[in-house]
Point group: D2
Chain length 134, copies 4
């Protein structure tokens, strides 16, 4: 709720439906935290060598989500190309992380939860991209 509430108080109207924008920011924030935890949990597992690829992709995803939520949080005179490219970078990182977590989801509950979070972020990014193009 809090991100949508503050977005609605911004003196400039959002370029898109504030609820779609806020959902994307919220999912990026949740995905940044979840991927950070999953990458770290990978390092603590007995089969860490099998989870190196997962840890690496989750770290990338946390980085992409962190940058994207900040760029999306700004409504003052945005640059459309930068905004779209940021969402696309986030999408690519979330897809890679979701697909790799999926491979480990039946062995490691943190990978199952992380895949779910990445899929929510993918959906929110896709909806925002559609709204930005609409």
């Amino acid at each position: 709720m809090s991100v949508e509430a503050i977005l609605r108080t911004h003196p400039r109207p959002a370029a898109v439906d504030p609820s779609v924008l806020a959902r994307c920011i919220d999912e990026c924030a949740a995905c940044q935290a979840t991927c950070t935890v999953c990458a770290d949990a990978d390092l603590a597992e007995a089969d860490v060598p099998d989870l190196v690829h997962c840890a690496r992709l989750c770290l990338d995803c946390a980085d992409a989500c962190g940058a994207t939520l900040r760029i999306l949080g700004r409504q003052t005179e945005p640059d459309p190309d930068s905004r779209r490219a940021a969402v696309e970078a986030c999408l690519a990182a979330c897809r890679a992380s979701a697909d790799e977590c999926h491979r480990h989801a039946h062995h490691h509950e943190h990978c199952r939860l992380c895949e779910e979070q990445c899929r929510r972020c993918i959906q929110a990014c896709e909806e925002l991209l559609a709204a930005l193009k609409g």
Copy 2:
């Protein structure tokens, strides 16, 4: 919910009550996003020269919250000094941002909401620090 859920699946037990830790990570994530929006909304106001200090402190707060939530998200062999110093840096930034937003809260709704979020983050950081020392 999602951060606490994934923290509870981590192979290493958390050094502290996972609900206290998760709450701090969640509030840092919300505060990073809220402060980013508030700093940007400051730039779009007609009285932007009066809001420069607020924008600056909110940017600092977003940076401190972003780093702290990542450091806290890792449970694998943490360094106690680094973790505590990160939470203290987050606290200092949230306090500065909350106090300055308070000065503008009656004129700008985004400052009022941002102050509220910073105060929630302060409380969560203080509870976590107490639990870490406990």
Copy 3:
């Protein structure tokens, strides 16, 4: 020198010429810092209302550069789509920031220096993209 030196000690060979990769990481790191300073200097100028767009784009650029340098710093089993999308997001943000700084470069020396740094980062990103596709 230091980024190239440590990249060359990585157990996995880089997917591309380490000097091209290191140059891109170094320019992203310099651009993150320079854009942070320029956005802040904009806030301190007497004509801050005319510099709001510049501050906003420099903040985006710092965020994109920060995420991209981290993703590029990882050589262990990278995801080609994520890496390319990250560099493209960085390019878009650097171009927007360089073009807006250019408009203020004759009035504000920090904008002139920031434009120069953004152009160096653009060139390094373009060279890396070409090498990744080569």
Copy 4:
């Protein structure tokens, strides 16, 4: 050179000697990149289980350095407590990372180089803290 040059064009005089401030920002930027590479190189080594602690601490250090360089890059109406706490969080993370990298420096050249970079960042942070208190 570039960070010091742009700091010197800022309309507000720096609270401290710009060369001391710039050196700290430059070392934080280099340390963020170096620690990102070292953490990733750890994951690619055959003895990854022995390097998990190193990877974790290097990730923390990259996060602390990234936030600190941004907070230090702002000279417009800084909050002294926030700035000092950020430098102290960076110091704590650099010390933990340097000490753990030291343990692996004779086996892994990336740990040796990373320790060196962390020590340079520690020295720059200590000099800045002394100047801020001076």
